[in-house]
Symmetry: C2
DNA sequence: CTATATTTGCTAACAGTGTTAGGAAAAATG
DNA sequence: CATTTTTCCTAACACTGTTAGCAAATATAG
């Protein structure tokens, strides 16, 4: 009964080609110009075939969003593993987040709806929680170690993320007039301040 | 020769009705569902009339974006005027920014392209510079007063703005699960930390 | 091997979107 | 009153996402 399996395999190949074609387009021309019809054209199938694999356009975006969140978590985890001191961990996590956002502009835009009709991020709840847990741990460690033990870790996590997200959103605004070097300085400065304020 | 004037006045009335109708729609259904055709329907003119007043849809959005930037600057200026101590000024400016963003979600989304095809913010350069100058002044004052006089005001301004923008972008994400009270705490905490780190 | 059932993938349409060409009606000017 | 100018509409173009319905290819059963 290899027939059914071959069919599944073939169907999966079409699915993959939809995704890879879409991704290629996004990399070349941005999310704005991604269209179902263009994908269909590129994979040499008719339009409705795409709807056999994805409920709608949003579902395709969601796929990429999840991919983005997973990639981000992986990068963060990897970076965090390089240190055991929580303050160092936080710094390297900030750096990893920064690098992820700059090297994967398209992912970041989609994940947080920057300059585009954002995908429904609420559905990526699980994926976002991973990141949250990774960041929360060193924050809790620093608070515990310090005399400032009244601090709310959740609140601090939120602040940490906001600083990063704010910097990146602003940096990625079109025609932004600040040099890359200064941007990095700003981030380092802000994170430094955050950690100091934490301990 | 009051005829030409009356005509200009009438033309302006149409222009205004386009804008006010559009704004009403945005308030009711969000930017996503704003369309030239719907505006035309509502003002009881045909579609091309709109193009006699605005080059394209983007131009209409730009109008609102500028309005938003002006309103923001006004709010900031007003808040700042209530104090003379630069640290107090910064705190109240942060509050004003926060309030503006929460009370004018639609403006904020448009101004910074949150969850929508952002308007070309680069064209609002002048408007953004106003805000920048307003915020930069107290930052420079604090730096000058402190022994930490090596700090770069531009960098610090950028950090300040990033914190605010990050908090607000995250807060405005759909289905966000953090209470309003906590959000405000996070902001106060972050700004407090920023100012402490500044002086 | 044929007949039936199923899956697959197409054409063509629907209901929208922004934008514009061209012409008809209305108004102002001579 | 005739002519020019302005105003404004109809209708189209080129897109978008989405889906109904049907034809062709394939697999299954007799």
């Amino acid at each position: 009964m290899g027939i059914a399996e071959r069919r599944l395999r073939q169907k999966d190949e079409v699915r993959s080609s939809i995704l890879s074609t879409a991704w290629q387009m996004v990399k070349q021309e941005g999310w704005q110009s991604l269209s179902i019809r263009k994908i269909a054209d590129a994979i040499e199938y008719s339009v409705p075939v795409i709807y056999d694999h994805f409920e709608n356009k949003e579902a395709i975006l969601m796929e990429f969003a999840k991919e983005g969140f997973h990639l981000l978590s992986k990068k963060i985890q990897l970076a965090k593993g390089k240190y055991s001191d929580p303050a160092e961990q936080l710094k390297t996590v900030a750096n990893a987040y920064w690098n992820f956002a700059l090297k994967n502009k398209e992912y970041y835009q989609l994940m947080y709806g920057l300059g585009m009709p954002g995908c429904e991020i609420e559905k990526c709840f699980a994926e976002r929680a991973d990141f949250r847990n990774l960041v929360m741990e060193p924050i809790e460690a620093i608070i515990a170690k310090s005399r400032n033990s009244g601090a709310n870790p959740c609140l601090k996590y939120y602040t940490f993320w906001s600083i990063l997200h704010g910097l990146i959103s602003i940096k990625n605004m079109r025609n932004w007039d600040v040099s890359d070097g200064l941007n990095k300085l700003v981030m380092d400065d802000a994170i430094e301040g955050f950690i100091k304020n934490l301990g």
